[in-house]
């Protein structure tokens, strides 16, 4: 079977540092932090009282009151960013075969806000079940791609990929594969998450996973810094329109970049801790490079998972040095989570978007908040600390790793006819 080339023709981004793609990219290259005290709920009794929230989002700009009420925030975010991506792609679904347009969407947790509200409501009663009929359909992860399909009449493959913080990357790789093998022409993909709520912050706090730098939220997400103390919760959504090259060319679409490879693996090690030598991470990166028919030396930029946790940052760094050898020191590396926080199941999407924009614009967004080198980390690597750097970026690789030991890596390349 001849594999089709797959390109990115539309992007939407609703993030803690910008509610549209242009705003997001502008903040990324200017090193803007999205962290601030939590406004979604009263966090005064929580160990962590800040997060990277989406700011100034009005769901009624995208859907009427009735519709907005029936969906969890993670679906509202998904609808907003996919609307932007579809518009950006200039797609008129009346002009294409809707049976060959799919939606494959990632989320790590889904409707946690809905779940929490309903259970709290139940527990306050006398035991009589009075659950809202929209409880289940608001909460389900796969309801996000379901809503997107209904909104636009898209009848191709439709489901969610769920792998915690690797979810959106698994979704994008599936979308890439479906188009590559000729089974769909266009797939709307990406991911969304909305877990800055009591259960989300409280749950991650209980794991000691979150930074507790309450006196200085903006510098709390500091990947690879000696004094990093955990990740910063983020939320939002990233959407991509992937399309076969021939389909994109036939309708004269603009092309951001080409998707050339994906790799997936498991650590088979621990529920939350990454493998100390990054075995699973190395396997996913190696598979992605092979899938793309590239060599390690073809990669110019790695957008790392780099969550700013004490252990994870070390093992990922080791994996990169081990795999890329001397070329590791010629790469640019950055963790854009230093600015966006960790968008969990949506992280892969917003970070793939950062990688695509880096490839398109030849600018590497920085890892902000670097103050002190960590002796545990090989500081000969170029982490693009604190300021964006200009360089030609032909190919970029984006890593995501999820609780459960899931690893997923995707590679994007400059589009050349």
């Amino acid at each position: 079977m001849e594999l089709k080339r797959v390109v990115v023709t539309g992007i939407g981004a609703l993030t803690p540092i910008g509610n549209t793609l242009p705003e997001y990219w502008e903040s990324l290259i200017n090193g803007v932090s999205g962290a601030a005290p939590i406004t979604h709920f009263d966090a005064s009794k929580f160990k962590t009282q800040f997060a990277c929230e989406v700011k100034g989002f009005d769901p009624h700009k995208y859907m009427d009151r009735k519709e907005a009420r029936k969906v969890d925030p993670f679906v509202q975010y998904a609808i907003a960013s996919t609307d932007e991506a579809i518009k950006d792609a200039g797609l008129d679904f009346d002009q294409v075969d809707r049976n060959r347009v799919g939606v494959i969407w990632g989320s790590g947790i889904g409707g946690l806000t809905t779940f929490t509200e309903e259970i709290v409501n139940y527990s306050k009663g006398d035991g009589t079940p009075r659950f809202n009929p929209f409880f289940i359909p608001r909460m389900l992860i796969d309801i996000a791609p379901g809503h997107i399909s209904m909104r636009h009449g898209l009848r191709g493959p439709n489901y969610s990929a769920v792998s915690a913080c690797a979810s959106a990357t698994h979704a994008m790789i599936d979308a890439f594969t479906y188009i590559r093998t000729g089974r769909s022409d266009v797939i709307i993909t990406g991911g969304s998450e909305a877990t800055v709520n009591e259960a989300g912050i409280g749950g991650f706090n209980a794991m000691h996973a979150l930074s507790t730098r309450n006196d200085d939220p903006k510098t709390a997400s500091r990947p690879f810094d000696k004094d990093r103390d955990g990740f910063v919760s983020g939320e939002g959504s990233g959407a991509l329109v992937l399309e076969s090259l021939e389909h994109a060319l036939a309708r004269g679409a603009k092309i951001y970049a080409e998707i050339v490879g994906g790799g997936m693996s498991a650590d088979a090690h621990h529920i939350t801790a990454s493998h100390p030598e990054g075995l699973g991470a190395k396997l996913a990166m190696t598979m992605a490079i092979k899938d793309a028919g590239m060599d390690f030396s073809d990669i110019d930029y790695i957008n790392v998972h780099g969550t700013s946790t004490p252990v994870g940052d070390v093992s990922e760094t080791k994996a990169i040095v081990d795999l890329f050898g001397e070329h590791a020191y010629k790469l640019n590396i950055s963790s854009t989570k230093s600015m966006t926080g960790h968008l969990l199941g949506a992280a892969g999407a917003v970070e793939a978007i950062a990688s695509i924009m880096a490839v398109q614009n030849d600018i590497i967004p920085p890892t902000i908040n670097h103050f002190t080198d960590d002796p545990e980390i090989d500081n000969r690597l170029n982490f693009t600390f604190n300021k964006a750097q200009k360089r030609v970026v032909n190919a970029a690789l984006s890593n995501t790793f999820g609780f459960g030991g899931h690893n997923a890596t995707i590679i994007v390349k400059k589009y050349q006819p």
Binding site: D64, K66, N132, P133, P137
Partner: protein
């Protein structure tokens, strides 16, 4: 319009996102006001909450228009 009728109408306007003047007594939730089966269940629950009554399922099945809801509640709310 009775107090009950106006509160019923307010709930319907809020939950179904319809205009107040569409909420006529003979209007059917599903045929005229765009409700699906889940919306209808939610409406009944909202009436129960607002008026502090329990509407048994076999009674709820007979409430499919605005007028039927108002009638039922006027008879069953103290």
């Amino acid at each position: 319009m009775s107090d009950i009728a106006s509160r019923v109408k307010a709930i319907i306007v809020e939950k179904l996102g319809v205009d107040e003047n569409e909420v006529a007594p003979e209007a059917s939730f599903t045929n005229d006001l765009g409700a699906d089966s889940l919306d209808t269940v939610e409406l009944i629950m909202e009436f129960e909450k607002e008026f502090n009554v329990a509407i048994p399922d076999d009674q709820a099945e007979n409430i499919s228009t605005v007028g039927q809801a108002i009638d039922y509640l006027e008879k069953n709310v103290n």
